[in-house]
Every structure is written in C-alpha cells, then in structure tokens.
Subunit: 230 residues, 2 copies
Amino acid sequence: MSIPAEDFTDANGTIADRIFDRLRHAIVVGEIAPGSKISEPVLAARYGISRGPLREAIRRLESSSLVDRKPNVGARVITLTSEQLLEIYAIREALEGMAARLAAEKMPDAGIADLRRLLDQHRNEVAQEAWQAYFQEEGDLDFHFRIVQGSGNRRLANILCNDLYHLARMYRCQFGMRSDRARDALKEHELIVDAISDRDGELAEWLMRRHIRISRRATERRLAEMQRNS
Amino acid sequence: MSIPAEDFTDANGTIADRIFDRLRHAIVVGEIAPGSKISEPVLAARYGISRGPLREAIRRLESSSLVDRKPNVGARVITLTSEQLLEIYAIREALEGMAARLAAEKMPDAGIADLRRLLDQHRNEVAQEAWQAYFQEEGDLDFHFRIVQGSGNRRLANILCNDLYHLARMYRCQFGMRSDRARDALKEHELIVDAISDRDGELAEWLMRRHIRISRRATERRLAEMQRNS
DNA sequence: CAAGACAACATTGTCGACAATATATTCTTG
DNA sequence: CAAGAATATATTGTCGACAATGTTGTCTTG
C-alpha cells in the first residue's frame, strides 16, 4: 500500500515515467496478460501518447525484467515459470535475511514502533476475518518493504522494491494466490519484529530466512497441486 | 574478460543497445568522470547518432544506477561513496555466498574443469609476477562471474553481472585499486573451487562469504588510508 | 552594492515522419 | 498439392523539429 511505485499520481514526472508506472502496474496485476505482445502502436493509441516516451518506458520494463525484448521484433510480457518463481524466493531468502539482520542493528526505534502498529492492524484484520486475501497480501509486502527500508542499505532496497517485489506480486495475481497462511505468517512476522526490537540481528536473519522458506514451500505445494489438476 | 557486456562488438544489435554498452563502459572505466553531466546534445554529436537511441540508453543506465537522472534537468554520472561501496560488498556477500552453494550443488563437471583451468592460468600469472594489476582484477571478476553462472539461477546472475559487477569495476577504476592481495585471493579461490568440486555447498558458501568479507576489509583499510592522506 | 525580477539561452521532453527489418500472404514451380 | 521464393504488410528503429521546462546572465531597484 505504501510502496511508492504503486501510487502513480498522474500529476508529477514526465510522460515516460508515468507510462512506465502504469504499464508496470498493468503487467503486474495481469491487466496485460503474460506472454502477450507489447505493441508500440496500440499502446501509444490506448494511452494517447507518442511512441517516444513509450519506448523509453519499455526499455525500463526490460531492465526490470518484466518484459522480454528482441531487437527488431518487439517486447512480450514475461511468463513466470515455476522455476523462475523459486529463483526469486531463493534470492529473497538471502537478501531479506540480510535486511532483517541490518534492520535489527540499525533501524530507528520509531521505525520499529511503526512496524508494531502495522502488525496490530494485521492482527485485527485476521481476527475479524473481515480481511480480503488481496489486502492481506498487500500487507505482507508492506511488512517486508518496511524491513528492507529499515536495513539502511539503499541499494538492497532498490533491488528488492524495484524488481523482486513486483515480480512476486505479479506471480500472486497470475496464480490467484489466496493466502490461507495469513495466521501463521502473522505469527512469523511478530517473531521477526521481536528479534529486531531486541536488536538480535542473528535471530532476526534466521527467522526471516525461515519465514521466506516456509512461504516458498507453501508455494511449491500449491504449484504441485496446480500441476496435478491440469 | 569473458563478461558479455565488455566485448561490445559494434556489429549486432540496435544503436540504442550499442550506445548503452559504450556509455556503460565509458562510465565504468572513468572515461566519463563521476559526477559529470550526461548531456544529450554533446553525446549525440560525439557518437554521431540521434538523441532518440541515446535517451533510451540513458534510461537504461539509470536503471543500472550508473547515472542519476532528474526530470527536466538531466542525468549525471553517479559518484560512488564509500558507504555505497560497502553496501555493494554486503549484497555481494549474501548473493555470491548463495551462488557458491548452488554452484556446488548444480554446476556441471565441465564448468568446474573450466574453473580449474582459469585458476591454473591465474597461478602462472601470479608466479611469474608478469601480471598487471588490471588483468589480475579482470581475472578476479571472471572467476566470480563463472561461479554465478554455475549457480544456475538466471535472475541471480542478472543482478550480479548486469549491475553489481559493473559498479565494483567502476570503483576499482575510480580509486586506482591495485591488488597486492592477488596471492591470498588466489588461494581463497582455490579453496572455493575445491569445495564446489567436493559438492560441499555449505563450505563453498562459507568460503565465498569469507573471501568477499576479507576483500571488503582490505577495501575499508584502503579507504581509511586514502581518507587520512587527503 | 546587494538582492530580486526579468529575459535570453540551453537542455530536456514530446511528437510525427521516414527507413530498416521481420512477419504474413500470395504466387510460382516441382 | 506441397514447398519454397517473392512480394506486401506491419512493426520496430531512427531521425529531425517543435514545445516545455530549467538555468544563467543581466538589469533594475531598494
């Protein structure tokens, strides 16, 4: 929810920047189907802009590895394979584990307090069962997002927030991932925040890595299930 | 040396792609000084191209975080601070540690044999003391590059090879990093290859992380020294 | 003389048109 | 009728020109 890339306020920045955000969002939520062609003429017409800014946006989408471009042929939205998804989980485990450790060492107390408030909110939502899976997932990303920010490593935050989180979100939209793991995940989140609050970096890293590993296994099970049903 | 991005054969691909490679190389080796402005008109004139492809290349340089761009103002080459450099080392430690573990599990025997040949070559160069620091450093990157490739995680390889290695190289050129650590580094490389060859992922990860940590400490010492002399 | 406003300039952002390349269709030929 | 070549079409790549924004230098004025 508070991920900057999500709230593309159409007022600021250049057309290329705005179209990049819009396209990225459209791709991530599946509005533009995976594997479909990114045609410059039709998109330029649809959004009422010229091809110039559009091309720059597409080049950036390529850098974010959301589209696959071939010279003189064009760009297509990537189709996330299960292998690629597991690759992302592996990277997140390494990177976010490190982020949790750094956050335990360097995150300001105010940030930890914010984190606790966020968890309180999640706890209410889960308890009332009034939450929708969508918001639950958003909340999960929000949690991870804040910890990464708290690590203080700007480049780490860039890698995760500009690329990997969008890909993770894309997968969730693509496979209609509904989280029946909300309660467990919340508990894991709470333990992580406790460790960070105790400034126990080693434990925070271990908990975060396990959290992501569990999440990956749940995904693997789901993928195997889908494989079986198809 | 065998890093794909380095040999920009001017024959294939579009102008935008070629100019991206050329600019990246020019920035990395310091041909375009850190902090200097990336002026579209002057670069278009210098390379004899139009501004269109150039702009796309600049957008991609921005995605690689080699330039810093402000809307309606322009782009400037980033200036690597020592903090940013240490951030990169931290990320490399996490990511390449993982890569070494995966390589131990999945790298084909042929790849390991290639790795050994590479180390033989390095050993000769070091023994003859006929090596120049430049090639030594290139060889180091080549070693890391191959292990990352051997991990089989394509996205991991992209993150490291498309962004972080270029930044690391940029730093080395920027600070005129001469390696008096070649002998030790070679020994560490050999241990890592031994672990991979033994399919001991845990050890390979540990050795790789330590290798990068030692390298980071050497860099920190050098930075402190430079700080003192200035 | 200093500080702020104004104007001239340069640079970036955007657009439409043309050239080069790839894909799809049609035609020929065994 | 099938397979391949040649053409036709559409899309991408590139370019030069115009509009919008930032910057810089100058001029006025307290």
